[in-house]
Structures are given as C-alpha cells and as structure tokens.
Amino acid sequence: MAPGKKALGRIEGRNKGGRLHGGSGWPLLASPMILMVGLVFALPIGSLILLSFRSMTGPATVGDEITIENYRLFVTDPFYFKIILNTFWLGGLVTLCCVIIGYPVSYFLARTRSRWRGMLLFLIIAPLLVSAVVRNIGWFPILGNEGLVNWLLLKSGVISAPLPLISNFTGVVIGLVHALLPFMILTLTTVIQRIEPELEEAAANLGAGPLQRFKQVLLPLSLPGIVGGSLLVFTMAIAAYTTPVIMGGNRILVMATFIGQQFRTVLDYPTGATSAAILMLLGGMLSLLALRFGAQRTEMAR
C-alpha cells in the first residue's frame, strides 16, 4: 500500500505542471473497478457486520432483531476472553521467534559481500512460492511421533519418549514461524543495510565490545525495522487460518480457528460474524500501524 501512496505523491507533483491528463472522465474510467470492489468486498463485509448484530435462532438460522449481545459476550465471557488471549499469545510468540531467528540472518545478509548473497535471498523467498498447505504437510514426517526430530532425539538418547511437536500449539508456532520468517528477514535486512558499518567500526575503535556495539549502536538504529517487521508478522500470524488448523490438528482455539468452526461445524453464524468483525478490526488497526513503520520496506526491491 505504501508504494501506491508514494506513487500518488509523485504524480501529484508531476500533474501540477502537466495539464495533459486533467479532464473529468477519470471517475468514469474507475467505475467498473469501484462497482466490482463494492460488489465483491464492501457489500459482503457490510452484510457480515450486520450479521454480527443478530442472534442465532437455530443451526444456520438467524433472528431478525438487532442486538449487541454477541459483542457483550465477547468482552465479558471468560471463554471468549481466553480465545483472544490465546490469539495474542500465539501472535506474540511467533513474532518473538521471528525476531530472534531473523535478526542474525538479516545482519549477515545486510553486511555480506559474498557472491552467494543473491542465491541466499532467493532461498529465503522461494518457500513463499510453495503452497502453505504443502509446506504444512512436509512438517508431519519431520515433527510427528515417528518423525525425523523425534528419531534423532531418541537415537541420541536425549529423550526416552517422543516429544509432541505437531497437532498442538507447538506445531502451530513452528508452522507460522516458518511461513512468516521470510517477511521478517526481508524487512530487517533493508533496515540494517541503511546503518552505515562505519558507525560500528567507530564504536569498536572506541573500545566497545560486540555486545555493547549491538546494544548501543545496532539495536537503537534498527528499532524501527524491528517494530515494523514485528507488526507485520504479528498481524499475519493472528490472521492465518490454514496453518493453525493443519499444524494444530484442528484442536487449537484461536480467533481464526474459532471463526472457521462457527461457520463450518457449529453453524452459529452471528457469533462467527462477531469474532470475524473483531479480528478484522484488530488486523486493520495493526496493518495501519505497520504501514507507518514499514514505509521503507518497499525500497527492498532496489
């Protein structure tokens, strides 16, 4: 979205001098798009919000009167509160893992002059082009009870019984970190690249150790990138549906899986709609916030 905004900014500048492209036909040219976005997006979302203010009268049937009962339950009922808490816990944990794993990799990519850099970047982005469902499938022979990790740990005698690594919360975290780590690495790499290496060298010359250089030079300067990347990853983590269902073995209850359940099996559409509206609100606010911090991310291309 940022590139779009920037695009408009530049063109506005351009149009001040340019008269050639004035004219009043533009809204007309945009009208098919406006109609289409209205039909496929605005109407359904509006109708979903309306549904969130109704109540269930039976499986897959909905009453006519308007009520805020669904929202009231969400704020007061501990059951729903637990779901929201789970969602934040999942998003937070995934984000933290992505920062910790991603930062050293990004630092390396930002500083290296190796001719393999392009290849490494390719390997980081490449998994994103393989279907999420397929990537999740690949985790089962790795993390399952008879999978690779447990085989290695059992063989080496570290554990005596297989660890439960998939079809539970751990599995969801692993799956989401795998899916979102590339976004964190790309964001951080861009930001670290902008920090001049001379600053670190100067700190070293003045006698700062590696830890001190990191804490007093690198970390403060790369903080905007960490915040921007974290907001991006957190937003995508709490919005994800496919990975939490597959990697959680269909039993992890976060907002996304709860919404899916309400619409697919419980058939309580109004409750599903309410949680969807809340998730949408959360995601929207976080995306806007991420945009503020992520303006530089779009430069990544160059």
Partner: protein, 266 residues
C-alpha cells in the same frame, strides 16, 4: 571461530526454511508408514494411487485463477490509471478503499462472502456458493487490489513525454493508449497479474467457503482430505506441487525477479 558459529547458525536457518519442502518429496516415495522419517523402503505406489479428482481440482484452480486475473486486469488497469492521473474529489479515499481488501484477513473475506451468498440466495434466488462464479468473485477481492497496486507502482516512473510525442506526431488518444501507455505499463501489469494468479492458486480460506463438490480448488481439496485421512496419496500430490512450484520459481526469478515480485506484496 566467530565465522564458524555464524556459518552453523545460517545453515540451521536455511535447513529450517527448506526442510518441509524437501521432506514432502522424499516422503512421497516412502513405502511403509509415510509419516515416519527417515524412510526405510522405496515405492512409487502413492503416485499411481492419486485420485483423479485431484486433477479435476487442479483444473478448477487454474480456471478460477485465469478468469479472476483476467477480470482483475480489465477493471483494475483503467481504475489504477484513473487513480494515478485523475484529480477528482475523493480520489485518495477511493485509492484507500480499493486497496483496503488487502488489510482484511482472507478468512474474514471468506466467511463474509459465504454468508453474503446465503443472503443473495434468500433474496434473489441466485446460487453463488459452490459455483465457479462464487469462487471468482471471492478471489477478485485480492486480485483487483494486487493489480491496482502493481500498476500504481509502475506508474511512478511513467515518462509522459513519450505520450506527448506520440500525440504530437498525430496519434489518436486510442492509438496512444494501446501503442504507448499500455506497453509502458506492461511490467507492472504483469507482476500484479502473476502475483494475483499465484495467490489464487494457493489460497485456502476464501475458496474453502465459496467452493464445494465439483467446484473445489486443489489446495482446498488437499486441506479437507487431510482433515479426514492423511495418507501417501496426499504426499504424492504435494510432491508434484513442489516440483511444479520449483520450476515456476526459477522461471519467475528469470523473468520478473523474485525479490521484485515480493516487494510489491506489502
């Protein structure tokens, strides 16, 4: 010493990123207990056991992606041009509105489309759920913004003097548009369209709620099959997808550049 540690750490991260993709292919040849690793015996049996309905689902996926992207380009390119060049009241609002679907989780779009299809059925008797049309309408929610955003980004570097030159040489507005403007925007249109196409092929939550029966896309077919019975045939299908994706990946990297493609994403 220091570089040895960083090499080990980096290798570990790359192993983590690539492991599930490689394991899918290896495990699809595992004869006994497909979910145990490392495999102990070799078979190609799972490939011959792939249900023909997966081929059918692939065709549905390709059809949905192709129709969706075509519509998105036809309505999105003129729309993006209007947003980039026109100066009319509410333009920046319109810009935000057209890109806003990308800020809404796909799952929310999916359930919104699903319940809206019920409303449409109730009031107009038109069936959208479980049809090709329903799938396409659902996927247009992200395809249009992807195309619009890519064209807007490409338009930032637009050199108006070439258009002016064409017109001063006597080209009609139509000729200018088709022979100058459109070719200049082609890379932007292409990267938006390719991206939308790939997401459409891969997307689960929207297609899960809008498709059913004969109109089920490939990733949804695998997703629901896993919920019921996770066996060797699923690994074989997934392995075929990996191989095709890898080929596609190298082609895309050659033609567009992966970094550029993903830079247009967020």
């Amino acid at each position: 010493m220091k570089s040895a540690i960083s090499t080990v750490l980096l290798t570990a991260v790359f192993v983590f990123l690539l492991a599930p993709i490689i394991v899918v292919v290896v495990s699809s040849f595992n004869a006994v207990g497909v979910l145990s690793f490392p495999p102990r015996s070799f078979t190609t049996r799972w490939y011959s056991e792939i249900d023909p309905t997966y081929t059918q689902a692939l065709l549905v996926s390709l059809k949905v992606a192709a129709i969706t992207v075509s519509i998105a380009v036809v309505v999105g390119v003129p729309g993006a041009l209007a947003l980039a060049r026109g100066s009319f009241p509410g333009r920046s609002l319109l810009n935000a509105a057209c890109l806003s679907p990308l800020m809404v989780p796909a799952l929310v779009v999916g359930v919104a489309a699903f319940q809206f299809s019920l409303v449409v059925w109730d009031h107009f008797g038109v069936v959208l759920g479980g049809t090709m049309a329903g799938l396409v309408l659902g996927h247009l929610t992200f395809a249009i913004p992807f195309v619009v955003r890519a064209v807007l980004a490409a338009h930032t570097h637009f050199d108006y003097s070439i258009e002016e030159a064409a017109q001063s040489l006597g080209a009609t507005p139509g000729q200018t548009f088709f022979h100058v403007t459109l070719p200049m925007l082609r890379p932007g249109i292409a990267s938006g369209a390719i991206f939308a196409f790939l997401i459409s092929l891969d997307e689960v939550p929207i297609a899960l709620f809008m498709g059913s029966g004969d109109n089920t896309t490939l990733p949804v077919k695998i997703f629901t099959a896993m919920e019921i019975n996770f066996g060797g045939d699923i690994l074989a299908v997934a392995s075929v997808i990996v191989v095709v994706s890898v080929i596609l990946m190298f082609m895309l990297d050659r033609v567009v550049g992966l970094e550029r493609l993903f830079a247009t994403r967020h």
